[in-house]
């Protein structure tokens, strides 16, 4: 199999399967979560603040008072990583073409050099966060193989994408294939690892905000 064939396979059947497992997995996991249901809260809420859950979905991205100072590495590393990843996924022109072909939606892209810089930042942040995970006793205790697996499968698309763009290690078509395969690995694993927080974070933040909001506390 030559490199173009590999690329065609990566963009073809491999991608199809990965996307299908991803879609089925995400829906399945959401069913798993919502299917458990919960009892309605019969206590009269302090005030009608119907937006508290939705607000917390966003506001929880901001560190509460004093927390940034307590663990700057996690917060700053987390910001840099997530923003870098977000820019790379959604604002690199070729990626937008992917979304356009799947959904028909498209939006303006960023200059490639800017995306490139954000990828470098995200990779560096991942490195720092791994070192932090290994050095911080709480993180180390909490971490299992799943955490390191999630770290690795998140790093790979960033790394292979960067290497493909800069023609490092392998020739472009091969590296591009590896990049796409790494994304497929990520797609397949996402619903079934902690990476599912990509989706569930909005659910958990909503409940948190709603629970606190009923008690009159902005969380």
């Amino acid at each position: 199999m030559n490199h173009l064939d590999l690329l065609t396979f990566a963009r073809g059947s491999a991608l199809n399967w990965a996307l299908m497992i991803f879609a089925a997995g995400v829906v399945l996991r959401l069913f798993e979560i919502f299917g458990l249901s919960r009892k309605p809260d019969l206590a009269r809420p302090r005030s009608d603040s119907p937006g508290s859950g939705w607000r917390t979905m966003l506001s929880r991205s901001i560190p509460p008072q004093g927390m940034l100072k307590r663990d700057p590495v996690t917060y700053i590393g987390g910001y840099v990583f997530h923003l870098g990843l977000l820019l790379a996924i959604f604002f690199f022109a070729p990626h937008i073409e992917f979304f356009r072909s799947m959904t028909g939606l498209h939006w303006p892209n960023l200059p490639t050099a800017l995306v490139d810089a954000s990828v470098v930042a995200a990779i560096a942040a991942l490195g720092v966060l791994l070192a932090h995970r290994l050095n911080n006793k709480v993180k180390r205790m909490l971490s299992g193989s799943g955490d390191y697996l999630a770290w690795a499968v998140t790093l790979l698309p960033l790394l292979t994408g960067y290497m493909a763009y800069h023609h490092l290690l392998f020739e472009y078509a091969l590296m591009l294939s590896l990049h796409i395969f790494s994304v497929e690995l990520l797609l397949v694993l996402l619903p079934f690892t902690k990476l599912f927080h990509t989706f569930s974070v909005f659910v958990s933040r909503w409940y948190n905000g709603d629970f606190f909001g009923r008690k009159g506390v902005a969380s």
Partner: protein, 371 residues
């Protein structure tokens, strides 16, 4: 000065032919310099090259055309104006080429046999077109199957040049579902040096460059993993493309005639395969260096790459899926939902069972029996 221009002319050599056609040594040296540059040889090699080619005997060449469209021959023979490339072709001894030669039938085959006999072990075989391994009747010449003719002719060849993507990689005849069972030259011949000059068609100067190299050094130039001369196929079209800066700036044409396209912005979104295509189009260009597809406003279709025909639509960006659709995702989501309903049902029965098993906790129930 005059003396140096009047180089020694060996009878029957390329030099003699050049002299007869009125090509001066200066002109030839200039040509050799450009060839040397294309072949990524040091400039000092140009005169050595001119010397070698001038003295070389006219190389016997047998050109075999199998499952092809004659586009490769067209490309090489129908240049915009007579060029030195054409001259080189005139000056080799093209002993067999069933499209170009005057002879036909038995006489033509006779010429091939004669050339093989006279130049055993020294002649060059050029092949265009792929070879069907299915029914031999799919393509045969003078009652001889392509396969048999290739094997027979290759036996005494010094080297084989597979010209065009069909000969080099199977090309269009091999495209899915490959009805004729087409294969490339390299799939059949394993014991001869083979150089691939892919492209649909290949660039004429690449051909002559390879021939010149063979005449100069008596062997094939350095090749990449796919058997292509590195000097021509070392970079991707994308990396050498004059529109590349627009890619880096994130400036793309959205349709073939929009403002961006007219401004010469990158054609990536319109499906250009330049990033994964190794060829010299962006540097040597076509038709006497006039233009190449991207300059003419159309993305590269990747014609010099193996299996380019099966690599998804020419008009889909490389980052687009080949065949994934949103309805496929919807289908998968439906499957996930069905599985989710099953899991939920199972979860709820687990929870209901736990509720049913719940015994009202009393104060006595807070302490374990000590064993």
């Amino acid at each position: 000065m005059k003396k140096t221009q009047k180089a020694e002319v060996i009878p029957g050599s390329v030099g003699e032919g050049l002299a007869q056609r009125g090509v001066t040594r200066r002109e030839f040296l200039k040509y050799c310099s450009s060839l040397a540059a294309l072949l990524a040889l040091p400039p000092s090699m140009a005169s050595a090259m001119a010397e070698a080619i001038s003295k070389a005997r006219r190389q016997s060449v047998i050109w075999l055309s199998f499952q092809e469209c004659t586009g490769c021959t067209e490309s090489i023979t129908r240049s915009h104006s007579p060029t030195l490339e054409n001259l080189i072709f005139d000056l080799i001894s093209l002993d067999y080429h069933h499209t170009l030669q005057a002879a036909s039938g038995e006489a033509a085959e006779q010429a091939r046999m004669q050339a093989m006999k006279d130049n055993d072990g020294k002649y060059l075989v050029i092949v265009d077109g792929s070879i069907p391994l299915g029914n031999p009747g799919y393509s045969c010449i003078a009652g001889i199957s392509n396969h048999d003719m290739l094997v027979e002719t290759a036996k005494g060849a010094a080297a084989i040049v597979a010209v065009g993507t069909c000969a080099a990689f199977g090309g269009l005849p091999m495209a899915d579902p490959n009805p004729t069972g087409a294969v490339s030259v390299g799939d059949i011949i394993k014991d001869k040096p083979i150089i691939n000059v892919p492209g649909c068609p290949p660039i004429p100067v690449v051909m002559t460059g390879v021939l010149a190299h063979f005449l100069t050094f008596g062997g094939l130039p350095e090749m990449d993993a796919l058997g292509r001369p590195k000097s021509f196929y070392g970079d991707t079209i994308h990396d050498r493309c004059y529109r590349r800066p627009f890619y880096d700036q994130g400036k793309f044409a959205q349709s073939f005639d929009d403002e961006a396209a007219r401004n010469g912005w990158c054609l990536f979104k319109l499906g250009c395969k330049g990033p994964v295509t190794y060829n010299a189009c962006a540097t040597t260009k076509w038709n006497d260096g006039t233009s190449f597809p991207i300059q003419s406003g159309h993305g590269c279709i990747g014609c010099s790459e193996p299996d380019f025909w099966d690599a998804g639509s020419f008009y889909k960006a490389l980052s687009m899926p080949v065949s994934a659709t949103s309805s496929m995702l919807a289908g998968a989501a439906a499957v996930g939902a069905a599985a989710g309903v099953a899991i939920t049902w199972h979860n709820r029965s687990t929870k209901a069972a736990a509720k049913a098993a719940h015994e009202k906790v009393t104060v006595q129930d807070l302490t374990r029996e000590v064993k």
